[in-house]
């Protein structure tokens, strides 16, 4: 793909093929991009964002050369291109799946100034994170706070029976309870990230 860049016309053609309505097409574009990033991440590709964009560029190029997306299943075209890129990545990748990153090892700090500095930095980040977390918890509706408190901290997270009882008490199915807890945590994360960015 060297020498080819995504032009405005090619992007426009891609969006048109995703959906005639430009706003809907932009939404589908973002959804696809998100899924592609997850795909590459779940497959252990460290440059997941880069590979997601490369997938989109490649699809756009093919469309500009005359290919067409299937109206019933346009994402299949993207997936096919992504799998090919993944295989190419494995052939070239230094960080193959299954190997731990050194960043995980935070405990071995004895006598290392760099490590001590990193730990202090991590401690300050954590304090900032906690402050933002408390602020964001206060902004959440009490029902949402109560739900995630029940779901994550009361009892074993892997206790299905306990989760089922909690769901029944709240007049929800187990699936609905999990979805709601996930959504509330996502809102909380977004709030915290925004708070952290504002604090920097």
């Amino acid at each position: 793909m060297t020498g080819w860049t995504l032009t405005e016309d090619a992007l426009s053609q891609l969006l048109t093929q995703l959906d005639p309505d430009r706003a809907r097409a932009a939404e589908k574009y973002e959804e696809l991009r998100h899924k592609l990033m997850k795909f590459f991440k779940w497959r252990g590709c460290l440059q997941f964002e880069e590979y997601a964009d490369r997938t989109i560029d490649l699809v756009a190029r093919k469309l500009s050369e005359g290919a067409e997306l299937q109206a019933a299943n346009p994402s299949a075209f993207f997936y096919g291109v992504a799998v090919n890129l993944l295989r190419e990545h494995w052939r070239k990748s230094v960080n193959a799946p299954g190997q731990l990153d050194d960043n995980l090892k935070l405990e071995s700090t004895a006598g290392d100034p760099e490590k001590i500095r990193e730990q202090e930095e991590a401690w300050r980040e954590r304090e900032a994170r906690l402050a933002c977390l408390r602020q964001c918890l206060e902004k959440l509706p009490s029902e949402s706070v109560y739900l995630i408190k029940q779901y994550y901290s009361e009892g074993d997270a892997l206790d299905k029976e306990q989760r089922k009882q909690i769901a029944e008490r709240m007049n929800l199915s187990a699936t609905a309870l999990r979805s709601r807890a996930f959504r509330i945590r996502g809102e909380l994360e977004q709030c915290i990230n925004k708070c952290l960015k504002a604090g920097k």
Partner: protein, 327 residues
């Protein structure tokens, strides 16, 4: 339920890299096409993240999670964030929104007194409650008295009504008895009348008219009144009267027998009868003459009476004058 669990285990194994290439591609093709399936994957990923953050993943899964996720800086941050959240949540105080409202707002420590003692109420509320209670009690007492009064009134009215009904019944019975009596009297009168009618019919006289119209009409005459003037007796003859009965009062000598001759205003004889005998009517001596009314036209009449003595000689016994009128 079992399928649900099997699906969740499959997704977990996909995320932890425990599936074959073919199985992975099958899942990936599905989540690219199915938004709900994709959301379930994201939820499962977050479940693993939180479970790792809480330190409850089994060792093998923990190591796989670290190899698959913690190689990414943003995932490490997310795990730290999850860890912070899980540490902070137990410290957060929040009311149970799913508990019934009556038990939600009061902290457990304040509920040391039983509800019926009212000690858990403020003084103002206690006073208000007592006032309301008094009003309710007073209202109940008033209702009791009012009910008793109305009951008495009702009983009285019922008794009065019963008495009135009894009187009406008695009156009605009396009226019925009277009506029955009158009816019986009427029946008796009718029977008597029928009997009389039968009697009259048997005697040959048809009472075509009610008893007010007599078959014979009588007139008492005295002798010596002059025809044409003064006080001549008049006799009105109804059309259905068959006979006019004339009672001639005798004032002179007595004779063995008499002869009567009736003359109209023209002097013409219209009727006569001989061999008449005198009879006593109380203290008077009278001769009774029954003259058919068909012979009596409306006119002035003279009735000459002659007597026959014992020796056979005929002598004037008197003249009687009257007028016949036709109705």
């Amino acid at each position: 339920m079992k399928d649900e669990r099997a699906n969740e285990e499959l997704l977990e194994r996909y995320l932890l890299g425990q599936l074959s290439e073919e199985e992975q591609q099958r899942i990936e093709q599905r989540f690219f096409d199915d938004e709900q399936y994709y959301q379930r994957l994201l939820e499962m990923e977050d479940e693993l993240r939180c479970a790792y953050a809480r330190g409850i993943l089994p060792r093998a899964q923990r190591e796989r999670f670290e190899r698959r996720f913690l190689i990414f800086a943003d995932e490490r941050k997310r795990v730290e964030l999850a860890r912070d959240m899980l540490a902070e949540l137990p410290r957060v105080s929040v009311e149970d929104p799913f508990r019934p409202a009556s038990r939600r707002s009061e902290p457990k420590a304040a509920r040391s007194w039983p509800p019926w003692s009212f000690r858990w109420l403020s003084p103002a509320r206690s006073l208000a409650l007592v006032a309301v209670g008094l009003v309710i009690v007073a209202g109940c007492v008033w209702l009791l008295f009012e009910t008793a009064r109305l009951r008495n009134q009702l009983s009285q009215l019922r008794a009065e009504r019963a008495a009135i009904e009894q009187q009406l019944e008695q009156r009605s019975a009396a009226e019925r008895a009277r009506a029955l009596q009158l009816s019986q009297q009427l029946e008796q009168e009718r029977a008597r009348r029928a009997q009389l009618e039968q009697e009259l019919a048997r005697r040959g006289e048809r009472p075509s008219e009610p008893s007010m119209r007599p078959a014979v009409i009588a007139l008492l005459l005295t002798p010596g009144l002059v025809r044409g003037g003064g006080e001549t007796k008049r006799l009105a003859l109804p059309p259905d009267v068959r006979q006019a009965q004339l009672l001639l009062e005798l004032t002179g000598a007595a004779y063995n027998s008499y002869r009567a001759v009736l003359l109209n205003s023209d002097g013409k004889e219209v009727w006569s009868r001989a061999g008449l005998q005198a009879r006593l009517d109380g203290a008077r001596r009278v001769i009774i003459l029954n003259i058919p009314s068909r012979l009596l036209a409306e006119d002035d009449y003279e009735l000459k009476l002659t007597g026959v003595a014992a020796a056979g000689q005929i002598e004037q016994a008197g003249s009687y004058y009257f007028t016949i009128l036709k109705q």
